[in-house]
């Protein structure tokens, strides 16, 4: 047959069908982690360290075990040392499994407030909690180190005597007791600053923040008589959890089946095993199924937030607006184990601009906080907070419009990144032009109101995905992927299948499979599912069409090369009377060789970069320092928006999270390293009252790495808001913000400093 022709326009892609999982979710029929129950199920409770940094001297479980109804207790001693030191995450990423295992349950030391030291399974949750309280743990309390500058200072308490400093990029070196370092560069930094007419230099700090997914971590584990464990869990990646559980519990991967349940948000925080190995070991020891539920407080204390940072940045430009030099030193918290998002934060800091002379220095710094994990474009929000503000300041000093300044320096297709390789097709200039032309850009403002604009970049990810399609005799199609659905991807993938097969999207029934039912896939991370799993779906659809064309040839007693397929219609080039639509041919498959199904596993190699910009208006109360968001317009290049309403939803969600990061959200630790605001009353995420309607402008610069031009969209919207709000505050009241969150106290202090400086 001929290669299926891509329709001149799209029939399905670019429309806004109703999501198939929507009704289940709004009626409560969808099964989330806590909805899952199983006969004979016990309840787990986890005992966590009250200390941020301590040696475990002893653990005595005898009293707890004597409590009636307690069925099992585990400690670090119940877990073997991982025999596999690293497990790949694709594209060179990996988990250090020794660290991952120690993070699941402490063995000799605890590294943060909330680090697991033991777990109990009992007949009910209250009994499990009571028993956990009876476990006696003796600690040698050690001084904690809670921020990156303290951790890098001479004489700082050392978390790990040895650690693998090369765990996050190349053969870096352990340069300081708690930190390893990477450096990237281009050109001649001294020469660059010598050429600059204007130089700005500032220091910035940001606090640790959490993804704030509404559903906490919940899982249930059950063993069978063959020694295989099934785990039902809320996760961004069933295979990732399977791999981690298998290694941490020393099981063959084929003996671990992970069933992903509906997920109430992840944003990067649910690609890691926390409670799954605990539930598995408790269930094994108790010989009963065990459910483990993390409370909100546990989730905030002991899952993986996004790092607090210290950033020192210096940038220079010529009077005509040409950027000539950038020198950045970024120190990111890694948490209790090495490997935070320093490489991504460092690289994304300037990638979207052409700057000939650059030095980027990054430090991955151990502190007594939970192991940092990805959060929507990990590391980029922090580094953009610094760089976009310096760009705004440079534009101001030069007397240039800030969008024009960025347009003059924006990276275009083919321009080389700091890593050397040329940019794939990218629509940065088009995006900035759209910002400039939008009515919001010139809309009038009142006193104490200001407008900020920031421009954000994220790489995105490809990684491995699988898809399986089966054609039913009535012409409907079953679609199964292993990509957990965080954002409506069941539908965006079904739409791509329908587009490729030439059928209605309602005729595709999408499901998310478990690790025993579908081919391997890495996590739903990196804004990759609609892009990468979409490619797997399209490839699989083409295999289905190919086989169906062979069946049509068989039925028409002709050669398959004579069969033409277009928009789901099969025709015979040599006989105009021969014509089947998809359903008609599906009905004949049983009698022409049996049902047709196909499977593909792909690892896309050409990921389209993501770009976003945000225009935000704020009003500052100069008596209290409170900042109100008045108006937001978000601009994003989707490549090709498969489901424009979903794209807008992703943008709005990312911007809302970014506004929370900008104004409210932070981890509050006391001097001993105890987290003081481990609840959503005190960890202040924005509500509907804080965020106005976020208008979304979608641009489409096709990504040649996807058959329909799709780029990932989920992460980059969170990147510009913090910087845009800071710039808006500056434009409202004339102060430069250098700390996140920009809570009222911080803004008020800046106003006071400004008044004091004016008075002096």
């Amino acid at each position: 047959m001929n290669k299926p022709k891509k329709p001149p326009g799209f029939r399905v892609v670019g429309t806004n069908p109703i999501r198939p999982d929507g009704l289940d979710k709004v009626t409560g029929r969808a099964v989330y982690g806590d909805d899952f129950k199983i006969a004979g199920m016990l309840h787990g409770h986890v005992l966590r360290s009250p200390h941020a940094h301590a040696r475990i001297k002893s653990i005595d479980t005898r009293k707890a075990l004597r409590l009636p109804g307690v069925r099992a207790i585990i400690t670090g001693a119940d877990f073997p040392k991982p025999s596999v030191p690293m497990v790949g995450m694709g594209e060179g990423g990996h988990f250090d499994m020794n660290d991952a295992a120690d993070n699941v349950i402490a063995k000799k030391k605890v590294f943060y407030d909330g680090h697991v030291v033991a777990a109990v399974a009992a007949d009910n949750p209250h009994l499990a909690e009571e028993a956990a309280a009876l476990i006696e743990v003796k600690y040698e309390v050690l001084p904690p180190v809670m921020d990156v500058r303290s951790a890098m200072a001479p004489g700082a308490p050392v978390l790990h005597e040895t650690f693998n400093p090369g765990a996050f990029f190349m053969k870096t070196i352990k340069v300081l007791p708690n930190a390893s370092r990477l450096e990237l560069g281009a050109g001649d930094i001294a020469k660059g600053f010598a050429e600059a007419d204007v130089i700005v230099e500032r220091e910035f700090t940001t606090e640790t923040v959490h993804q704030g997914y509404i559903e906490s971590h919940i899982c249930t584990a059950q063993w069978d008589e063959r020694g295989q464990v099934t785990i039902w869990t809320t996760t961004q990646g069933a295979f990732a959890i399977r791999d981690q559980v298998a290694i941490i519990c020393a099981l063959p991967m084929s003996h671990v089946r992970v069933v992903p349940l509906e997920i109430g948000g992840g944003f990067g925080g649910k690609d890691t095993a926390y409670i799954e190995p605990l539930a598995a070991m408790l269930a094994k020891k108790a010989d009963r199924p065990v459910k483990v539920v993390m409370s909100r407080a546990e989730s905030l204390r002991a899952t993986g937030p996004s790092p607090g940072t210290y950033i020192k940045a210096k940038m220079g430009a010529k009077r005509d607006g040409t950027l000539v030099a950038a020198d950045l030193s970024l120190a990111f918290e890694a948490g209790g184990f090495p490997g935070g998002p320093i490489a991504a934060g460092t690289l994304t800091s300037i990638t979207r601009y052409n700057i000939p002379n650059v030095r980027l220095e990054g430090f991955d710094v151990l502190v007594n906080k939970p192991k940092m994990k990805p959060y929507r474009a990990p590391g980029a929000t922090q580094s953009h907070f610094a760089v976009e503000q310096l760009l705004d300041e440079l534009a101001e000093k030069i007397g240039m419009d800030p969008v024009d300044f960025r347009l003059k320096n924006v990276m275009k297709t083919g321009d080389r990144l700091i890593l050397g390789f040329p940019s794939p097709p990218i629509g940065g200039a088009e995006l900035l032009e759209a910002v400039k032309k939008h009515p919001h850009y010139k809309a009038p403002l009142k006193e104490n109101q200001g407008r900020g604009m920031a421009f954000g970049f994220w790489f995105g990810a490809g990684l491995t995905s699988s898809a399986e399609l089966s054609v039913n005799s009535d012409g409907t199609v079953q679609m199964c992927t292993a990509s957990c659905d965080l954002s409506g991807t069941r539908l965006t993938l079904a739409m791509q299948a329908a587009e490729a097969l030439g059928i209605d999207v309602d005729d595709v029934s999408p499901t998310v499979g478990d690790t025993h039912s579908v081919g391997y896939a890495l996590q739903t991370v990196g804004s990759r599912t609609t892009f990468a799993t979409g490619i797997a779906v399209i490839e699989t659809a083409q295999k289905v069409l190919q086989e169906m064309a062979c069946r049509a040839a068989l039925l028409w007693e002709t050669d398959a090369a004579n069969i033409n397929v277009e928009n789901g219609i099969f025709t015979d080039r040599n006989n105009p009377a021969h014509k089947f639509n998809f359903k008609e041919l599906a009905d004949k498959l049983e009698h022409s060789g049996g049902p047709v199904s196909a499977q593909s596993t792909v690892t896309p190699e050409r990921v389209g970069f993501q770009l976003a910009a945000l225009l935000v208006d704020v009003e500052v109360d100069t008596e209290t320092g409170k900042v109100d968001i008045l108006r937001c317009t978000a601009f994003q290049d989707a490549g090709k928006a498969v489901h424009p309403d979903f794209v807008a939803g992703q943008v709005q969600g990312g911007v809302a999270q970014g506004l929370g990061w900008a104004l409210n959200e932070e981890y509050w630790y006391d001097a001993k390293g105890h987290l003081c605001n481990a609840s959503l009353l005190d960890y202040r995420m924005p509500t509907a009252l804080d965020v106005p309607m976020i208008d979304v402008v979608i641009l489409e610069t096709p990504n040649p790495g996807h058959p329909y031009g799709v780029r990932g969209v989920g992460e980059v919207p969170i990147v510009p808001p913090a910087a845009a709000v800071a710039i808006a505050i500056h434009n409202a009241i004339g102060v430069r913000m250098d700390h996140l969150p920009m809570k009222p106290g911080c803004v008020l202090q800046k106003i006071k400093d400004q008044r004091a400086a004016a008075a002096a």
Binding site: G92, G93, M170, L182, G268, A343, W458, F459, G460
Partner: protein
């Protein structure tokens, strides 16, 4: 000969050269060729056998290549070693 872009941390091995030319039919052979001229290059890139070190992605002609060191290269190929980046 293919062009290899030397990552900043390894430019000390190449006397500050940002790009160097190397011979080979795949990335592994390029790395081995480079190691002959710039000792230490291979150990910085290769973990064991044909496996690239954790944390590194191999880019050939603009593609993050799944086969890593085994990916074939042409005489005009550009090869890069970049930090692995996943996402949230």
């Amino acid at each position: 000969m293919a062009i290899v872009w030397i990552p900043s941390p390894l430019q000390s091995l190449t006397n500050g050269e940002i790009t160097v030319r190397a011979d080979g039919g795949n990335v592994k052979e390029l790395v081995e060729d480079l190691d002959r001229n710039y000792p230490g290059f291979k150990s910085a890139i290769v973990a064991e056998g044909v496996l690239v070190r954790p944390g590194i992605s191999v880019v050939v002609d603009g593609r993050v290549v799944k086969k890593g060191l085994l990916h074939p290269v042409g005489v005009e190929s550009e090869v890069f070693f970049i930090p692995a980046i996943g996402g949230g």
